[in-house]
Amino acid sequence: MTALETPPRESVAGGGFAAVAKGRLQQLLAFASLIAIFAFFSVASPFFFTYGNFTAILFSTVVIGTLAIGTTFVIITGGIDLAVGTGMALCAVMSGVFIVNMDLPLVVGLVATVLFGGMMGLINGINIALLKIPPFIATLAMMLVAEGLALVVSDSAPIYFSEEPSYTKISTGNLIPGVEFPNAVLVLIVVAVIAGVLLTKTVLGRYTYSIGSNEEATALSGIDVRKWKIAIYAFAGLFTGLAGIMISARLGSAQPATGMGYELQAIAAVVIGGTSLSGGKGSILGTLIGALIISTLNNGLQIMSIPQEWQNVILGCVILVAVYTDILRKKEA
């Protein structure tokens, strides 16, 4: 917004060959940080650059990545969602209730869980768009409520999916025969592609950007901002539901006490991926790269057997450096 800056090089809202190419470039830059991190660890440890470790990194990105995709939509509108972490735990528990306790068919249970996540998002959206409660507070409240309800509904005990072996297959199975490639990663890729298309090619996505860019101007252009905001939060909620499935499928159980702190990691992935917290700007690819940067750093530092108290110190510094070089490069480009 400063008068002093020169025009940015990229159009994020997509469209046009030149714009798309520029957009790619920008993401390639964030990607460069990731590559640099990869290169470093590959040299530093002989155990890093292996197929098994790659899938491990990807696998460990799935839950945060799924949450971060939903969060990307919310943050592009200029909002924030603190409820995704504990909300995910509640959705995991609900998945257990649907599939184990109520013994619904698997597919029905899965759909119901995802919709349950959407419903939480819907409530957030209503609180924010209709009651005008600031997103931070509305979702903070939802975070607390979900944290409590996960315990209440599950009676503070994990729900096990032992009777449903196909449930864990959603995460740990290998759909591609003969290749060790966990389904969870496939799910993340598919979901990311869908989200990316929705964000760049549809009205929902366009309004997401518009609302974040100038909510008042969007409303005065005849767009029912309230309705669309509710829709966007509800849509983002679906990813919370999906993340609930992915985490409980991986663990084979719904853990009611998990989830707190995941929201911060999801937001961090989004922001490291170049989405601005003030809204109007961002991309799914960026978010995925952001999530990968975090999980690669975590993995690499552990592989290098850095003492854990130092891991966070290094993690913090590397994030700073990565984002800073990213900023520098964009300036130069």
């Binding site: 440890s45 155990f47 890093f48 292996t50 098994g52 470790n53 491990a56 696998f59 460990s60 839950v63 315990l151 503070s156 005990a157 994990p158 096990y160 032992s162 740990t172 060790e180 966990p182 985490i247 991986r250 663990l251 084979g252 159980s253 853990q255 009611p256 006490a257 998990t258 707190m260 999980s295 975590n298 993995n299 552990q302 592989i303 290098m304 057997s305 003492p307 854990q308 108290e309």
Partner: protein
Amino acid sequence: GEDGGNAGGGGGGGNGEQPYIAIVSKGFQHQFWQAVKNGAEEEAEKQGARVTFVGPPTESDVEEQINMLTNDLAKSPAAIGFAALDSQSAEPLLQQAKSQNIPVIAFDSGVDSDVPVTTVSTDNKAAAAEAAKHMSELVGGKGKVALVVHDQTSKSGTDRRDGFMEWMEQNAPDIEVLEPQYGGGDQLESANITKSIISANPDLKGIYAANEGSAIGVIKGVEESGKTGLKLVGFDSGKAQVDAIRDGSMAGAVTQDPVNMGRELVIAAMKAIDGEELPKSIDTGFKWYDKSNIDDAEIKAVLYE
């Protein structure tokens, strides 16, 4: 405290005849603490007492625990059960309880104070040493062994880590213990850590997980990495660990008896309310369980699911 005006009676905290026991634990959401809670509630029902059970979200939230203890003291309970995250920081409040004539029963780990009338606890270090002993046997006394611990500062975390490492150092010179890794008790994070450890140490022989959340993570991490032949030793119980031990993916685990700890806590509290003498400490013990004894009645009684 000036607010101790109605404490002398010690009877019921506003609930007529039923004596009220306030329990401030080290945690709340995790299965171990839920088991303690269940034991306490069961026993309280039997004895006609009322209990409340609170605990901070993680074992590093010392200040929050102090606030919880303060709040519970304001209710003038007949007795307090307390598992201190940090003995010293609770001392002023314990003194306040004493001046209000509210008996305090320490549980889980000892409280460094002369206020508690008794301590209902198990020895985490000894239990961890037991796990180390079995691990050593399982890997044949040599090779690399890793630790996935839930916390690097809390007493239960450090005791369960140090007990294991010290035993290894003293009794198994050929076993190389890797730098412990901490997963915060989060299953997913522990799983990711486990996979990293396995990647970085192809010659790994065994992994020790220091609580239930870590154990679930370790089991999942090993399963996902596809690595076979690793000896896993866990801590606490819960369905996931029990199942893993039954199907052989985990060799065995030490368990304390959290349900019994809760029961003993309430029994001791009731005795203290009635003014009975109590021993300085009540040990609720620990047990090693594996495929061979998992169905023994004695073991079954201490496992929770």
